[in-house]
């Protein structure tokens, strides 16, 4: 099977484009996704292929257009809706937590909401407190949603295709700082099932569970400590809800050490869920050290790059955490 190199942004575009070719019910809507190509350039050129009837620029009315996406999904379409920055989910939060994920249940299973909501998540861009958050933990607290965060072009494409074919509302959180990163992607069609984690590096001394941009930081840290003889296993969750706990448990039983790393602020972050799941599982008795969470400091994301870098986890902090846990 041939492979080609492409960016994370292009992998996303390819995934949507392929699904749009395959299924007339798939369409995109969001702010400035047409000629402007989206704030991060993801949908560049799509309007040329699919036209403004299927690549739809909306008014700046997130509640209305996410609501519109949901309604159209109820009526049998498969919207892929873009919220420019994940922080803006807050202005249409009711649609995200009270409408899309609850309808099927409240209505006794008679409707389904096959919608993908894509949005750009994460900091490190100097965009300050209202354009840099990682809000996935809030979404993972909502039964009825699925939550996906891909870390590579390969994963992004395969997971997004599955998300579009999924019959449930899927929150697809893209990582701003990964859009321009490159990776190999099969030329042939493929999908990656939702709910399955991926071991991005094998090791026997310590397990790191992470996702999104932090996967790369963790891999770099694992590489760094490997020179000190520490073999770190890096598990990329890929789908956060539902979470692939068996993979984590298996790894922890082997390595007896667990570190959870994410970019979201620590308190109330998904690290708590992951750590607690393991602490209450059979793997608990295998642990040789307390579970460690490494995450952003509990402050709004500051503008100044020195401060911002200071609050975010990075490979140096992660490497140190590995050493600490094994000490």
């Amino acid at each position: 099977m041939g492979k080609i190199e492409m960016t994370y942004a292009n992998a996303i575009k390819e995934a949507i484009s392929e699904e749009m070719r395959r299924d007339q019910n798939v369409y995109m809507l969001g702010e400035d996704i047409g000629v402007y190509r989206g704030a991060f350039g993801v949908s560049g050129g799509m309007i040329d292929e699919f036209g403004p009837e299927r690549i739809i620029d909306t008014p700046i009315s997130e509640t209305a257009f996410v609501g519109c996406a949901i309604g159209s999904a109820v009526a049998g379409m498969r919207p892929v809706v873009e919220i420019m920055f994940s922080d803006f989910m807050a202005v249409c939060w009711d649609m995200i937590i009270n409408q899309a994920p609850k309808m099927r249940y409240m209505f006794g299973g008679k409707v389904s909401v096959p919608m993908v909501l894509r949005t750009a998540s994460g900091g490190g861009t100097g965009a300050a407190a209202q354009h840099s958050q990682s809000l996935e933990a809030m979404l993972c607290h909502v039964p009825g949603l699925k939550v996906v965060i891909p870390s590579t072009p390969y994963d992004a494409k395969g997971l997004l295709k599955s998300a579009i074919r999924d019959n449930n509302p899927v929150m697809f959180l893209e990582q701003k700082l990964l859009y321009r990163t490159k990776g190999m992607v099969p030329e042939e069609e493929y999908t990656i099932p939702l709910g399955v984690a991926d071991m991005k590096r094998e090791g026997k001394d310590c397990t790191i569970v992470t996702y999104g941009r932090m996967v790369h930081m963790c891999l770099a840290a694992a590489e760094a400590v490997s020179k000190e003889g520490i073999q770190t296993e890096v598990i990329d969750l890929r789908t956060l809800l539902p979470m692939d706990k068996p993979s984590i448990i298996e790894s922890v039983k082997k390595t007896k050490h667990l570190i959870v790393v994410h970019e979201a602020v620590k308190t109330g972050g998904l690290g708590g869920e992951i750590a607690a799941s393991i602490a209450e599982s059979e793997a608990f008795n295998y642990l040789d050290a307390p579970i460690k969470r490494l995450a952003s400091e509990d402050v709004p994301v500051p503008f100044c790059p020195i401060l911002e870098k200071g609050v975010l986890p990075d490979e140096i902090k992660i490497a140190q955490a590995i050493r600490d846990v094994l000490a």
């Binding site: 909306t58 209305a64 609501g67 519109c68 159209s72 109820v74 409408q99 309808m103 006794g108």
Partner: protein, 325 residues
């Protein structure tokens, strides 16, 4: 838009009466069993507002779709939901339209064009845009109706949805059931201009305010409005002025309104008025009206019996319907 009222067709007349009486009797039973503690949770009755539900839904085509409000029993009933299954739902039974998972505030049956009541005020307006978007795209002769209250029209999503429907020319009919109260809060406290139809103007959406307690006016207005919307002219808004005789929900001391006010509106009861009009105009006989009374009474009694005979859901069902396959 000047609505032309045609002479009253007898079949339609009876059907409108049947819808109103079914709604009324349905809700009276709900009220009764609620007061006995046999219905759980909360419930928002629309007693007194049946003219809006019957006139509106009566003028729609079977394939049309509605989003009901939290006060949506009569809207669902008039759209043609199975009242047996709806009653079973309110009694939290496994045979309910929502398998007992939704209850009074979440009555829905997509197969009958009832896309759902909502416990949150406002979102239905946007959801309706989406349904209409899909039907428009598929060039189907389907109009989507979003019911909402006067109070709910103060939510931001009202503005966003009307604007979206306007610029995208969506086949949505926005129906405001204006009963002049949001819970206890009178419309004059929360709007300077209380003619809600004016709120459609900035979007260039044609709008009209009518007497919602005159079921014939409602029916005729909506017939025309449906035609306008279905013909691809874009959305329309109709404000149906009415009054909620019943309290806001299970707990309402009616401290915010006078007995006289309620009494005066009982005089304007849409069912009473319609019966009188049918007799006056010689459309039906008293016997024919009595027959509808009896028929609807029997229907609702049947519904209650069905509900009471229906089993409760099983605990293991609690995990079903969270996710679709």
């Amino acid at each position: 838009m000047a609505t032309k009222k045609s002479a009253i067709d007898k079949n339609i007349a009876i059907e409108l009466l049947r819808k109103m009486l079914t709604s009324r009797k349905f809700e009276e039973k709900v009220q009764y069993y609620f007061s006995l503690g046999m219905i759980h949770g909360t419930t928002h009755l629309s007693i007194g507002e049946e003219g809006t539900a019957a006139g509106t839904c009566g003028a729609l085509e079977p394939q049309d779709q509605i989003y009901a409000t939290h006060r949506g029993h009569s809207q669902a009933v008039c759209k043609g939901i199975d009242v047996y299954k709806m009653m079973a739902e309110i009694f939290a039974r496994a045979n309910g339209v929502c398998k007992g998972k939704g209850g009074s505030m979440h009555i829905a049956d997509k197969d009958r064009g009832v896309l759902g009541a909502n416990g949150i005020l406002g979102p239905s307006l946007a959801l309706a845009c989406g349904v209409a978007f899909a039907h428009k795209k598929r060039k189907e002769d389907i109009v989507t109706v979003a019911f909402f209250g006067d109070g709910a029209s103060n939510e931001g999503v009202f503005h966003e949805s009307l604007n979206l429907a306007s610029v995208w020319n969506l086949p949505v009919l926005f129906i405001c059931t204006n009963n002049t109260y949001g819970m206890s809060t009178h419309i004059t406290k929360v709007m300077k201009d209380t003619d809600i139809a004016n709120r459609a103007k900035p979007y260039m959406i044609p709008a009209k305010t009518i007497d919602g307690n005159d079921v014939w006016e409602v029916y005729n207005t909506i017939k025309e409005a449906r035609k306008y919307v279905a013909e691809g002219n874009g959305p329309m808004m109709i404000v149906e002025n009415t009054y909620r005789i019943s309290g806001h929900s299970k707990s309402d001391g009616n401290l915010y309104r006078t007995k006289e006010e309620i009494a005066s509106w009982k005089e304007k009861c849409p069912i009473k008025r319609w019966k009188e009009k049918l007799i006056e105009n010689g459309v039906c006989t008293q016997e024919e009206i009595d027959a509808v009374e009896k028929e609807t009474t029997d229907l609702i009694e049947g519904a209650v019996k069905f509900a009471l005979d229906s089993p409760y859901p099983k605990l293991e069902d609690v995990y079903n319907d969270v996710y679709a396959d």
